[in-house]
Symmetry: C2
Subunit: 340 residues, 2 copies
């Protein structure tokens, strides 16, 4: 890189003290400097091509204007919108974010956490669905600012942003009920994820309240393959379906269900209706277009960023819990129960 122009260079060129330049260039201190000096400083700074050094500033002020975002895997389609939501709130406020992927490993999460601390991030947005309680409690004790997103608070001492999953599942079951379905299957997400538990419990509660028969089948991962495997085991294990609709733990599981149904010569929604969860990218482009619960991932990102900045500013009560509304998007994968 070429020799960088520093604040001192500008000061020398204007003929004032570096601190004056600093004041002139800083929003919160401009009013301490005379109008004319400010003008001269600005002009010279621009002329010289001065670029402030965020690193030096951060060292001095103890604020790097950088946040860490910890998530399991960016290639999971629910995260890009969330990251963009975070960014949309942060960028205009001068913050940047360092995004890291844990791939579901606690060890990796620890390493990345440490690395973010070394980089002096001002705070953390944690979107890893399972609960590394120990790490979060350590963080809290070290005085780290953080916000959890898309996972249940469950004793973690940080603000939390989640979607109203229970409501979403309830709406799904209600929708199937209206279509005349009586026997449902829920493909539950893997153990350890708070979302799995919440959605499963909501499913059971909803079936109860509508007087429907609801069977829960576990999956080993939130993935297409796991969904397909789970559905295969159901379809292989019994004389034709004892159910007419599937409430999948998320859209990937729903997609796996599509594959399994197709393999078994079953048609959706003619033979089996399917509801997903998330309304991820392309949910409308599968065949049939997937009826699913829209989870506001972008907004969750925005909200978590907002909460974190408030936390850092000290204007945020510790245990806040933001629950964002979800909505059922009815598309082609659900239909009236088949005549049997």
């Amino acid at each position: 890189m070429q020799k960088r122009v520093t604040l001192t260079d500008v000061a020398r060129a204007v003929g004032v003290n570096p601190s004056t330049v600093s004041r002139a260039l800083n929003e919160e201190t401009v009013n301490q400097v005379s109008q004319s000096t400010v003008r001269r400083v600005r002009k010279v700074a621009k002329g010289l091509g001065y670029t402030p050094n965020t690193v030096a500033r951060g060292l001095r002020t103890n604020r790097t204007m950088t946040l860490g975002v910890i998530l399991p895997d960016l290639t999971n389609p629910i995260f890009p919108p969330m990251v963009r939501g975070i960014d949309s709130y942060l960028a205009p406020r001068g913050y940047s974010s360092l995004v890291v992927n844990t791939d579901g490993s606690d060890a990796t999460e620890r390493t990345l956490f440490q690395s973010l601390m070394e980089r002096q991030v001002d705070g953390l947005i944690v979107a890893t669905g399972h609960s590394n309680h120990q790490l979060m409690h350590d963080a809290h004790e070290r005085g780290v600012h953080a916000v959890m997103v898309n996972r249940d608070a469950n004793g973690v001492p940080f603000p939390t942003v989640i979607g109203d999953d229970s409501q979403g599942v309830f709406a799904s079951v209600a929708h199937l009920h209206e279509l005349g379905h009586k026997r449902l299957v829920h493909l539950a997400g893997p153990a350890g994820f708070s979302t799995s538990r919440i959605r499963r419990e909501a499913f059971e509660a909803a079936c109860n309240s509508f007087g429907l028969q609801g069977r829960v089948v576990d999956t080993v991962a939130y993935s297409i393959e796991a969904g397909q495997a789970a559905m295969d085991s159901i379809l292989d294990g019994q004389a034709t379906a004892q159910f007419t609709a599937v409430v999948a733990g998320n859209d990937l599981l729903a997609l796996g269900t599509y594959h399994s149904l197709r393999m078994h010569g079953l048609r959706c929604p003619d033979d089996v209706s399917v509801v997903g969860f998330n309304d991820m990218l392309f949910a409308n482009d599968f065949q049939p277009p997937l009826t699913t619960v829209r989870s506001p991932h972008f907004e969750m990102g925005v909200e978590s960023a907002r909460l974190l900045l408030n936390e850092i500013a000290g204007t945020q009560p510790g245990g806040a819990r933001v629950i964002l509304p979800v909505s059922l998007i009815v598309r082609g994968s659900t239909g009236a129960v088949r005549a049997s």
Copy 2:
């Protein structure tokens, strides 16, 4: 945050000079310190919970170990794998990356570029498909290290990583030729993207070399909607299809083509075969599963990170051009030409 433990704290506790601690804790300088001191330092550092301050280090060394990644939009499914590829190479080497989205705006790109410079990134990976030549030349003159990925070098003075798009399109056309197709349509990506031009030219060349009739139709964006609109205009504009296969500029355009065909009561591949480009997420999950050219996005990320680090280390010749091989993935969207 709690009071941080500094290197000086450790030095005091051990009873040595800060610089000794610095040497003891630094890979490249450990051998300047006696074994026993190293051990003591490490032990105390651990005991005190010392966390190195990357910011201070960066100020001193003029290397932040942070790179900038500029891309159009993270929610475009080709980018998450690329970002993860970049990260997989960087993380083990102690680098982090700041990912920013331009949304295709040159103005935004400039702003973000500036912001990354202020953050003292050690280099840039630029994946914005179109060519903001001015910006890149300015960067080069300022001595910025950078690598371009997924766009043509075309006079830009930085190393470039691209997929072998021509080869991919050629393979697509060859595949359709073998299936007996004689009249093809190419849905060309929007003007301004180097990939649009390259793929279009490859399509025309391939049709020539196989003696096929190849029609090119422009789209206004690499999106589902644009693909659908373009296909609609073709299908609405003439008595039944004058073509039997579509080579789409990318998978999104192919997906739009699916929608349009369906709306027009045409079946894929029975009536029209479709080939995409990229093999993006879910390409195998659409109906029919999409025949497409696999572009190695993860590897492109890895490769661009590798090049950039070499550039920074000064071991990289300026105009390097890495062309990664692509491969045609044949799935269900292509079939033998229909009997007419």
